[in-house]
């Protein structure tokens, strides 16, 4: 972190610029420099205690949904998959995955809906609905603490590359790319908030600002609105490609679902 900040300070000094200067080259931070400690100790404590982590309310709801019969077939998730602690262990840590049915990557929320539609013959949950967030939080919890393994499938490569392209592409009225802040200026502050490194290790997560659970797509939408760009609709391929790229670069980091963020 010091190295980055020093380089940044020098650039500003030699440029004689008082305005926000942005380094030209972006480098992914090495694993040893990736930080979890961007949050206040209070927020970290809220996440670490399962009885104070509000995300656990969604996990509990997701568990109830997992065991509830649904759709025309009258089958529950547990009816086929059994105990989620066994069958779903490590699953969330590898999403988004390549989905042969569409020939594209698919994220966990949409994958749950595919199962709901084809195997339960039930109406898919709307994206970002309480039920879908609850089920994905419940599945994510089964992999908590496990290293993220997204992106091992070679078929994902073109979509990961497309995600990276979107990440580095300037957009919106403010003309910022994701990388401008999250690679070039992480650790510094945007107003009072620390800019994190964009490793989405805890989604779906409870955001104090939202006073609710939300998906990574909701968080991406948040940043896009922030740079005054037109956000993509929920479930769009752009979001899934971005998710894939971000999860791939977080490979090796432990999954934190359900995380708590300010």
């Amino acid at each position: 972190m010091n190295r980055v900040l020093k380089g940044f300070a020098q650039a500003a000094w030699f440029g004689g610029a008082l305005s926000l200067s942005i380094p030209l080259a972006f480098a992914e931070s090495p694993l040893s420099e990736r930080k979890f400690e961007f949050m206040s100790p209070e927020s970290q404590a809220t996440q670490q205690d399962d009885f104070s982590n509000p995300g656990m309310l969604w996990v509990a709801e997701g568990e109830a949904l997992w065991n509830a019969k649904a759709g025309a077939t009258g089958r529950s998730c547990a009816g086929c998959h059994g105990d989620a602690a066994v069958s779903m262990k490590g699953v969330a840590a590898r999403y988004p995955v390549f989905f042969a049915g569409s020939g594209r990557p698919i994220d966990l929320q949409s994958r749950i809906n595919v199962c709901r539609k084809t195997n339960q013959d039930a109406t898919p949950f709307p994206l970002e609905s309480r039920e879908l967030l609850a089920l994905s939080a419940f599945l994510g919890k089964q992999s908590r603490g496990m290293p993220i393994t997204t992106g091992e499938d070679k078929r994902l490569e073109p979509f990961r590359a497309r995600g990276q392209e979107l990440y580095e592409q300037r957009q919106g009225q403010l003309n910022f790319s994701c990388a401008n802040c999250h690679d070039g200026n992480w650790g510094r502050k945007l107003a009072s908030s620390v800019i994190p490194q964009s490793h989405p290790t805890g989604y779906p997560l409870y955001r104090l600002e939202w006073q609710s659970m939300g998906s990574l797509q909701r968080r991406l939408r948040n940043c896009m609105v922030g740079v005054r760009a037109e956000p993509y609709p929920y479930g769009s391929q752009e979001y899934v490609d971005l998710e894939l790229f971000l999860m791939t670069r977080a490979r090796g980091m432990p999954l934190e679902t359900p995380a708590v963020r300010p």
Binding site: D49, D50, F51, S52, P54, M56, L57, A60, E61, Q211
Partner: protein, 106 residues
């Protein structure tokens, strides 16, 4: 109101100070926000929380619109006898949610 997470130690020694935690899922709608149609969304908050230990009140709180969604309480009491610790949340619609936990005191 739907779901609550409570944490009471299952066992304690007589005279021990025990920590109790209660997390409740609730939107805590302030009554100051407008909906998509421009009209105010009616206030709906939990306005009262009460915890009793074998029927005796040990902790209670009045809640106000500035309190965030999914309110969390953490407090301590002294373990005096085995029995039941009961939690009650009451919201603006008059709905009450009840949870109980047993504690064994040696």
């Amino acid at each position: 109101m739907a779901r609550a997470l409570i944490n009471v130690p299952a066992k304690a020694k007589r005279g021990d100070i025990i920590e109790i935690k209660a997390l409740m899922s609730h939107p805590m709608e302030t009554g100051y926000r407008t909906g998509p149609d421009g009209a105010l969304v009616p206030r709906d908050i939990i306005n009262r929380f009460i915890c009793t230990y074998n029927g005796e009140e040990i902790f209670s709180a009045d809640l106000f619109p500035a309190i965030a969604a999914n309110p969390f309480f953490s407090f301590t009491t002294i373990a005096m006898e085995s029995g039941r610790i009961a939690f009650r949340w009451i919201d603006d619609r008059g709905q009450a949610h009840l949870e109980t936990a047993e504690i064994a005191v040696e």
